[in-house]
């Protein structure tokens, strides 16, 4: 209380830059904060309204997973039906197929798309010519700036019966494959295009981290007799480890959301067996067949797994390496 009483004169002169006084502002009440900063709070109003309507309302809207929803009715549904929709998807073999595909594609993405940017950044870092380095980087970012629709178009053309990939297959093995319609080829097609798309852009943060590695560490390592490879292993990699871990956590967090838009554009009923993931399945169930409550139950399951994954990855990382997102 005593502290609060001291605050008002300070608020009258808000320009005191003394850091020692800062903590004293904290216990001040809301009344005071609003009086002093009401203009800042008005700046917050519209964005907060945005978050409330377009981010938090849909989260609350997930209750339709437990309620009967009628098109045109309340977005929170009409009446409680308990776990009806949850048990429905648990007993749905198509869901489990999609679930399995999601896990497999997620693991493959993590396995191939996560390390590639690191390797790419390390290789770029070894280049002596700055000009050539810039050139490679500039080119490598390009796919990142393309619409997924365009990427999908390119994938389908390159993997078509007469596309480049089949031309190569024809020259090398004398056979052509129907990549886009054969379920067993979906995963290689998806993963290779994903690597193509994300490698250059993914390397950015590592390159940024690499520029901050202390040169004297290399010098010290050289004097200790470390060769180039040992320098990479003992100096470079440890130096960028926090970046690697941060990105790994983020990647794990988006594990369940494997390339929904891209898959939606390139898959077809002939390869559902391997291409259908949870998000595409719930898209079909929900929006093409109008089973909103059922699809919402699946979607909620997906989001909860995603959140759990990122929370546990973060917790493990904090305990093991001391690096965490928050």
């Amino acid at each position: 209380m005593a502290i609060q009483l001291e605050v008002p004169p300070e608020a009258a002169a808000p320009s005191v830059p003394d850091k020692a006084q800062k903590p004293r502002n904290k216990p001040g009440g809301w009344k005071l904060a609003i009086k002093r900063d009401w203009r800042l709070y008005t700046l917050l109003a519209l964005p907060l309204l945005y978050f409330a309507i377009f981010r938090y309302l849909p989260m609350a809207g997930n209750v339709i997973a437990f309620r009967q929803f009628q098109p045109g009715g309340s977005i929170f549904g009409e009446k409680w039906v308990g776990l009806k929709y949850v048990t429905l998807f648990i007993n749905d073999p198509s869901f489990w197929q999609a679930f399995q595909n999601t896990i497999i594609l997620g693991v493959l993405t993590l396995l191939f798309c996560f390390p590639m940017p690191i390797i790419f950044a390390l290789m770029l870092n070894e280049l002596r010519s700055q000009k050539f380095k810039k050139f490679v980087q500039t080119v490598a970012y390009l796919p990142h700036f393309m619409s997924v629709v365009i990427i999908a178009g390119m994938i389908l053309q390159n993997f078509s019966m007469t596309g480049t990939v089949n031309q190569i297959a024809n020259t090398l093995f004398g056979t052509t494959m129907n990549f886009t319609q054969d379920a067993s080829w979906f995963r290689p097609m998806y993963i290779s295009s994903e690597v193509w798309q994300t490698m250059g852009w993914g390397a950015i943060l590592y390159l940024a981290a690499l520029t901050r590695v202390d040169e004297s560490l290399y010098e010290a390592a050289r004097i200790d007799g470390a060769n180039r490879w040992q320098q990479t292993w003992h100096v470079t990699l440890p130096a960028i480890r926090p970046t690697i871990i941060t990105l790994l956590i983020l990647n794990i967090g988006t594990f369940m959301a494997v390339g929904f838009e891209k898959i939606l554009l390139i898959y077809n009923p002939l390869n559902y067996e391997t291409s259908d993931v949870i998000s595409t399945y719930l898209y079909r169930v929900g929006l093409e067949s109008s089973n909103f409550s059922y699809a919402a139950a699946i979607g909620m399951f997906e989001s909860v797994i995603g959140l759990t994954l990122i929370l546990s990855a973060n917790a493990i990382s904090r305990r093991v390496t001391g690096t965490s997102l928050w």
């Binding site: 203009r39 917050l44 280049l127």
Partner: protein
Amino acid sequence: MNGALLNRQAKKDTGVLLKDMKESRGMKAFRIFNLAFLLVVVFLTVYPFLNIIAQSFSSEGFINSGQVNLFPRGFNVETYKLILADSTFWNNYGNTVLYTVVATAISMVLTTTFAYAIAKKDLKGRSFFIGIAVFTMFFNGGLIPNYVLISSLGMRDSIWAVVLPNAISVFNLLIMKSFFENMPRELEEAAAIDGLTQYGVLFRVVLPLSKAIVATMVLFYAVANWNSWFQAFLYLDKPELFPVTIYLRNMIAGASNTASAGSTVENVGQIAANIQSVTIVLTVIPILCVYPFVQKYFFSGIMLGSVKE
């Protein structure tokens, strides 16, 4: 040449020289391999783009027999003429421009105001507001509740369904916040002493000094909006409202509107690849024009966001 260099180094440090000489052969091999590998990466990255351009200028016969790779065969600009004469294409292209401009403007207003406020370290409730934003990075309502919400707000078949739902990118917000945080406080304090309100400080002092980050953010949002398709795909049913990405998606899905325009050719499917390529090229041109700026700004933008220790 190399020897002279090594000699010069030798005067500095004999120990280092010995190491370097021992490794020079392995190092050389590695450098050559590295160079070659990166050149292959460059080629693989640009190949699909060159291939699309080549296809867009080729005639169907060559495309369908798989003979078009890096260079056009059977040079033909008929498809360009066909698409450039298609009013639907131009209408959709115009929509994309409109959506991009409006959405970017909305995003910039919301992102800047929010970022500015939460960058104030002594703002009460600051961490709560940051938390509200950051939480949405890890958890979201999901497709169905969003769809139901937009529909019940009556936004279907209107520009709002495209420009509002993704107005704030939390990632961009955080980059902007850390930029504002790094601004010298003295500047704002001096302005406050001179009688500027917090609005005045933002609009007359901070924003004019933040051109770099504002430009970066405009590019971030503009490129994302130009490329987006899914919102429009979900919420727009009328072809005259489609952005050009939907025009392209429909073509890829085989439900091409221009197919009828080319129906004089016996096989509509035959010219599909050619039409697709032309549309892709036309859609990509604006991105390629801003690309040099985009990638420069993007890079420094990302750096701003990541360098914060």
